[in-house]
Symmetry: C2
């Protein structure tokens, strides 16, 4: 983990004080990358033969180990991110619960998608073979930790938990914004791997502040899939690298989006104050550093009462830290890009946050739909941070026109009274948004993912590189399995999941009928 060869060194930075934190970390060397991947390749052979109950033991051991180190992890994470203690505590909880949830998914076994079609030796004109199909682990997975969820989407986060749950070894590239947190998490996982008697190559974490560590991992011959959460530029670069490999590998990159919100007129008439308050809370949650941040808000023109209320909200803003200087600078540049769009009016511009070295306060702006459309892709691009752009439409009818201009999105919402949402426009708009987003919401903001079976956190490009997958929710495990069929293989040679006696007690599709254990 800690590079022994003293490659490029870097330190975590406390965004509140701007000070470099104590420990120095080093980019992994080529030899370390090679060794981690070789160990992962070897571990893959062992993991492929394990059943879900054994995998659950590992994930349970990891969860318990993390809980034992809770204080150290939470403390380090707060220093490295500047997140308030409540946020870090909540995210810690989500991380540990996620690890256990994927353990349960591994044991439940329905993700294996077992299908059995019995043979028939007497069928004419040719005998019918016996076919049995299940998902098997795809092999070693490289995970890029996200900057903004140092616990729930990083070294012990959803990508790692779902890959392990599928029986895949994982090599994580830790995010350089929280190297100390990554180190503590990785030590804890490795201890659990060893304690549960899994091969040591089951998990490794490599530090890397330069892009070359990531590139070498993506190009390594042992890799079978890559998971990433971050920017469009970063995700696309990884996707391109993986597609150019001699043996291409799937990339599951979640690259954020602007998450358009459509606010219907009656709601603004009846509850302008309430909506302003809820929107402001969602837009500044985590200081806007969420891929599900509601960045674009479409509303009917003439909503002056609402704007007054929103100004009141923003006047009470005290700002907050941003994750690192690069993100803070990109945020400032994004707002600057907005300000140069013809017809766009900055209502509250970029301001540093008082007493915070690397921080920012909320920004908002407005523009007419016509000017928004004229600006093309410029305004559809996500501005990562607490920025909200209001797009004024002559009438709600224009929402449909606006929605049709969008590329893929993680989330998109309708906000309205029962009357607003009862009409044809709401129905058509929902259908249109369903055609471009991974999740559509009514009277709710996309922020705050509910981690469950029915969550979809993905969507068409550029929200992700492949719309088939989700990176959060139990279905995230599906990314790390591939189907394998067994034809006429004797029962004693079949994996437990496919044997006649169903020793694992899992649900199976048998001769076209679902059979419970």
């Amino acid at each position: 983990m800690r590079s022994s060869e003293q490659n490029q060194g870097f330190r975590g930075i406390n965004p509140v004080t701007g000070e470099a934190l104590g420990s120095e970390f080093f980019d992994a060397t080529l030899a370390e990358i090679d060794s981690a991947m070789a160990d992962a390749g070897e571990a893959a052979e062992t993991l492929r033969g394990l059943d879900g109950r054994r995998i659950e033991e590992l994930l349970e051991a990891i969860a318990s180990g993390l809980e034992r180190r809770r204080e150290a992890i939470v403390g380090c994470c707060q220093l490295e991110t500047g997140y308030p203690s409540g946020r870090v505590a909540g995210e810690f909880q989500r991380m540990v619960a996620g690890m256990r949830r994927f353990g349960a998914v591994a044991r439940r076994g329905d993700w294996l998608g077992v299908r059995i079609d019995h043979g028939d030796a007497l069928r004419q004109p040719v005998p019918k073979p016996d076919l049995r199909r299940m998902n098997v682990p795809i092999g070693p997975v490289v995970v890029f930790g996200a900057s903004n969820f140092p616990l729930a989407l990083s070294v012990a986060g959803s990508d790692v938990a779902s890959a392990l749950a599928a029986g895949c070894p994982v090599v994580v590239k830790g995010h350089p914004s929280h190297p100390g947190t990554s180190q503590l998490l990785a030590e804890s996982i490795s201890e659990a791997v060893s304690g549960a008697s899994f091969p040591s190559g089951t998990f490794a974490m490599l530090q890397g502040a330069s892009t070359s560590v990531g590139q070498e991992l993506v190009e390594h011959p042992e890799v079978r899939a890559v998971a990433f959460t971050g920017s469009l530029a970063g995700g696309r670069a990884i996707f391109d690298m993986a597609a150019r490999r001699e043996v291409p590998v799937p990339v599951y990159a979640e690259m954020g989006s602007s998450n358009p919100q459509f606010v219907f007129p009656e709601l603004l008439e009846k509850d302008a104050a309430g909506f302003a308050k809820r929107l402001f809370a969602a837009a500044t949650m985590g200081n806007g550093q969420f891929c599900t941040n509601p960045g674009l808000v479409f509303l009917p023109a003439g909503a002056s009462t609402f704007f007054q209320h929103y100004q009141t909200q923003i006047a009470g803003d005290v700002g907050a830290p941003m994750l690192n200087a690069r993100i803070r600078d990109a945020f400032e540049q994004g707002v600057d890009r907005w300000s140069r769009v013809p017809g766009l009016e900055i209502l509250v511009g970029f301001r540093p946050a008082a007493g915070i070295a690397i921080g920012a306060m909320a920004v908002c702006a407005r523009i007419s739909l016509q000017d928004f459309i004229a600006a093309g892709a410029t305004l559809q691009e996500e501005v990562f941070g607490p920025a909200t752009l209001f797009i004024e439409c002559a009438a709600a009818d224009e929402f449909l026109h606006a929605a049709r201009s969008f590329g893929g999105q993680l989330g998109a919402s309708l906000h309205g009274t029962e009357g607003d949402l009862g009409g044809r426009l709401a129905r058509e708009l929902l259908a249109c948004l369903g055609g471009l987003a991974g999740r559509v919401l009514a009277n709710a903001f996309p922020t705050g993912l509910e981690d469950c079976d029915a969550l979809q956190h993905g969507g068409p490009y550029p929200a992700t590189t492949d719309p088939h997958w989700t990176s959060v929710g139990t279905a995230a495990i599906e990314r790390f399995g591939r189907p394998l069929a067994f034809q006429d293989v004797p029962d004693r040679l079949l994996p437990a999941a496919l044997k006649a006696g169903n020793p694992l007690g899992i649900r199976r599709l048998v001769d076209g009928e679902f059979v419970e254990p």
Copy 2:
């Protein structure tokens, strides 16, 4: 369909006589491509709102329409492919049955993967949202028809049926080897589309003998996914094009493989004659022009009795037509490539088939495992046609060493007596082959796909471009759906599949439990 602008013209060729057939066909023009894709984009909006029963009506109408034109289609197909009448009749049956099977899959609705997690307004510290998730059609799909299955994997084949079943409009690029068959199939489908009152953009077929038609289709902005069956070079070129798009789209390319067979010693001792006969039948089925053709056969050294029997089989060979001159030439070149590998002995070389203009007879060769390994990738590359390479291993133990040298495969088989397959070697070999193939078989050849729920016709690269998918079997529909979640959306705005009352009567995962209708 028929290009009105008299672009590049071409004709089908009867491989038996070598004569060009009557009708001339023309490459689709840019304007025709554009129009077909625009219509598909429009149709996608309508299809997205239809339920599985309506889709089944369409597929049933297509199946019935094809049956009504059976004589014309079968006749044209025989002329264009040179396949014997029994083969064409069987493939026609498979095509029609596949269309109906995917209709049933659409109605059954379990491919929608509905998951519902009910909300809880009273949950602390935050209310739990209501989340409902299902697969929705991915959008317009481009399908490249395969040369070797002009019915079952082409204009009305598995890719088309599964995409339509998912609710996706389809634009097919017909294979230039069977343009007349493509034309008849397309006319029949379009008539059914119209008869079932589906939008005309639901289906289109474009002819194209040059690669530019395919390229323009893959690069068209309306495309959401591409399905292909053919060569590694062709599939990889399409994959690369799709990955370089501004908005990349998934490519499901099935590119064939060498499908290694491992023959255990006791079987060869006890049934050399029977095995030789079965192998020869599988290796020459469709004159070897199957992606599942058993091209590489590993066996213990000293199997002279077996080789005598195989020579007897091959002596009775009369040869058969090949699909077109390009494929026949590539086959001859492949055999020539083999002949230049050090240590490789050609037992029966390339021979044209008597009385067949474009034809070939079966080829076989042998080599030691050592020389096979030394030759590297050269001998792992598929030689498309009736060629079988025997690799002699000093002992069966070496099978494992051989298997570890392979890249991704569609299929891989073990052949042995109960004693052969009862030992540790068989178990380890099966595990190893399961790590690299989409389907593993015991005492069966990969040729002859059983089209059912449990089939997997896919595998790691280079067998396909993405190991998650199958191109045959009911799971093929999964390629054409993507998950969409609805959060807190009122019941009256939800699609039927997600409504509280379950009006479609489909299986759903509700709050973690599978609920039957």
